[in-house]
């Protein structure tokens, strides 16, 4: 029998956390952001979306990693790469990624 071989580098690391994502009210933005989170190796534990007075949306997601090269700072950058995502940041933690 062949043993299932996985690169140990990409085992679930137990990374979990909350992200606050600000989105423009443009069709496809919400699904694009949620899809990015799933494709980059995270499961949702909780999702809240509310509209702000300026028309943008605050999306709060509680996520947990499912295995992959996971790093919430990288995920935030990948989300911010999406058009109509204004910002993405970890919440509930003080520590931010260092540049160097």
């Amino acid at each position: 029998m062949v043993e299932l071989q996985r690169d140990k580098t990409f085992e679930p690391s137990g990374v979990h956390g909350k992200l606050k994502i600000v989105l423009h009210d443009v069709s496809g933005t919400l699904i694009r952001a949620l899809g990015t989170i799933e494709r980059r190796g995270y499961d949702y534990r909780d999702v809240h979306c509310t509209q702000r007075v300026d028309g943008d949306f605050d999306l709060l997601v509680h996520i947990e990693d499912t295995g992959g090269p996971n790093n919430l700072d990288t995920l935030c950058k990948q989300l911010e790469r999406l058009y109509n995502v204004v910002s993405a940041e970890k919440v509930g933690r003080r520590k931010h990624a260092e540049r160097a």
């Binding site: 140990k8 580098t9 496809g28 699904i31 160097a100």
Partner: protein
């Protein structure tokens, strides 16, 4: 590429024109206003309003390919050869889904292409109407951005933004899905499009440039690891200047080939799964890896946690999401590669001993161009030697496009590249069927340059219908078809990793490819012997029209070296 200021000026001009026009005409005029001159497309029901007005926009040349996938890949070839944004059209439903592979290819190789798909009328969307698919939803993970046009008055701004986004920063594909009623509707309105919100930083912070320079100065074994971002970021000359200033050895990914000329004294070759031994050993032994426009792709790194195990990392990339994604970085410089490479000035690296080790190894592992296959000694064609000879005989500005498989790796290993844009290969997605349409797109974009497509017998069958496009437009593409009567790379893996259990790789019932080409009215000939190669290359290169050279090669020829999947690059297998 359009700058943010130019984008704003275009918007102002667009808004000033209030003639009544249909959405279809607004779309085409807006595309033409972006400087687009060539569109690759295939008409159909939902996109007919666009084709109805296409003859009115005379500055647009439409190339009718014979499959929407061909359109998409031709647009990619055109974009990569010209540095402009490509454009491809298809209708709704199957037309749109046939574009999907090309869209994914453009996404993974960061190629700027705007794809326009027809869509059923707005009132039918969501009703499972005839030829309706949710192409917007299907392509969400593989586009840089996408739109569904809901109002013809949005189209001028939407098109301007689409071309801006496709080319800005890290380039990529953008999709516009155009419902038929929106294309048909007349409007005098023009909606203002909000200013494009995300402009990438121009260059990294100056203190990080100093930190990077300090790391380089302290390093005893520095190494550049370069990728496709060098060409995408227009940083070829800046890279060459930096390499010459520092004398640091260089390894390249598949997409980075040509950023340094293949015969540059500091160039060690391609790294990774089919990389050169000197390149892979250098990566394993270096103490500083300067990564420029590369993304630690698994085909380049092998088993990630064994990659450059002793090295600190400086990472230069325009896409900050690539920094620390797979490998922890010690110093990073985001923003324009061109500007960051120009700003780095650490002086000549103090690494003479390291250079000696690297280049002695390079000389030791030079290719010998003798086939390891016994029966080739009876006079068969050895593909690596053919590609080496072809590459040296063609002019240095020639463009080579390839398909995917063994021949793709042989091209990377044995062909000479003077510029990364001369090598058009499907690096990220690895799309069989890419070579021929990409070649025709490249030739249309660069009509004064020699363009050669190297393909395999498996790959060419995936888009062979584009031979008809070559004939229709008399595109003088030169095709080298390496035919080993097998899906060669899969066969090689079955030989090496699956105990020679050959499963569904035998193609010994291939058609006579020269006859197939002739049926499409393309000049073609076949060679089977090594002593026919010289004359074959001569005939190929001297042809004035499209031509196909069908080359029979041994089924059991393999690509070496080979790093087994999931293993360290240090574990290279050899013939």
């Amino acid at each position: 590429m359009t700058t943010a200021t130019q984008f704003e000026r275009q918007q102002t001009k667009i808004l000033a024109n209030r003639e009544p026009k249909s959405g279809a005409l607004l779309l085409l005029e807006s595309i033409a206003a972006q400087g687009v001159d060539t569109i690759f497309g295939y008409p159909g029901g939902a996109i007919m309003p666009v084709y109805d007005v296409l003859p009115k926009v005379t500055s647009l040349r439409h190339i009718l390919c014979r499959h929407e996938q061909g359109c998409g890949m031709a647009a990619i070839g055109y974009a990569r050869a010209t540095g402009k944004t490509g454009t491809a059209f298809a209708t709704s439903g199957p037309g749109a889904t046939n574009l999907v592979t090309a869209i994914a290819d453009a996404y993974l190789d960061s190629v700027p292409v705007v794809f326009v798909t027809g869509q059923v009328t707005s009132d039918l969307m969501g009703t499972d109407a005839f030829q309706e698919v949710d192409i917007f939803g299907i392509t969400l993970p593989i586009v840089k951005h996408s739109y569904i046009a809901r109002d013809p008055a949005d189209l001028p701004g939407m098109v301007a933004e689409a071309y801006f986004i496709a080319a800005e920063g890290r380039p990529g594909p953008v999709l516009i899905d155009l419902p038929k009623d929106v294309a048909n509707a007349l409007t005098t309105e023009r909606h203002k499009w909000r200013p494009y919100p995300k402009i990438k930083p121009e260059m990294g912070q100056s203190d990080y440039i100093s930190k990077a320079e300090d790391l380089i100065k302290k390093s005893k074994k520095p190494l550049f690891y370069i990728g496709g971002g060098i060409a995408q970021g227009d940083g070829v000359q800046e890279l060459r200047d930096l390499v010459d200033r520092t004398n640091i050895p260089v390894v390249s990914t598949l997409k980075g080939l040509g950023s340094l000329p293949s015969d540059h004294p500091s160039f060690l070759g391609m790294l990774g799964m089919h990389g050169l031994k000197a390149a892979n050993y250098a990566v394993q032994e270096c103490d500083l890896l300067i990564v420029a426009g590369a993304r630690f792709d698994d085909r380049a790194t092998g088993k990630l946690d064994t990659f450059a195990p002793n090295a600190k990392v400086i990472h230069l990339d325009i896409d900050i999401a690539e920094i620390n994604k797979l490998r922890k970085t010690d110093v990073y410089l985001d923003g324009s590669l061109k500007k960051n490479l120009a700003a780095l000035n650490p002086g000549e690296a103090q690494c003479e001993n390291w250079r000696h080790i690297c280049f002695s190894r390079r000389d030791e592992h030079e290719w010998d161009y003798k086939s390891p296959i016994e029966n080739m000694k009876t006079g068969g064609v050895y593909a690596p030697k053919l590609l080496h000879d072809l590459s040296r005989r063609v002019d240095r500005s020639a463009i080579i496009t390839c398909d995917v498989g063994q021949h793709q790796m042989w091209v990377a290993q044995h062909c000479y590249f003077d510029n990364p844009k001369d090598h058009i290969t499907s690096g990220g997605l690895g799309t069989m069927g890419f070579g021929l349409p990409a070649g025709l797109g490249a030739k249309l974009g660069a009509p004064n340059r020699t363009v050669i497509t190297v393909s395999g017998d498996g790959s060419i069958m995936m888009n062979i219908q584009e031979l008809a496009t070559l004939f229709r437009y008399d595109i003088p593409l030169k095709i080298v078809l390496l035919d080993n009567s097998a899906l060669g790379m899969v066969r090689q893996w079955q030989e090496v990793f699956f105990e020679k259990n050959y499963s569904e790789v035998n193609l010994d019932d291939n058609p006579d490819f020269a006859m197939v080409a002739k049926a499409f009215q393309i000049d073609a000939f076949t060679i089977t012997k090594g002593d026919e190669v010289d004359d074959g290359i001569e005939r190929l290169l001297s042809a004035t029209g499209p031509i196909l050279m069908h080359v029979k090669i041994d089924t059991y020829e393999n690509v070496w070296p080979l790093v087994p999947p999931g293993r360290s690059n240090a574990d290279m297998m050899e013939r």
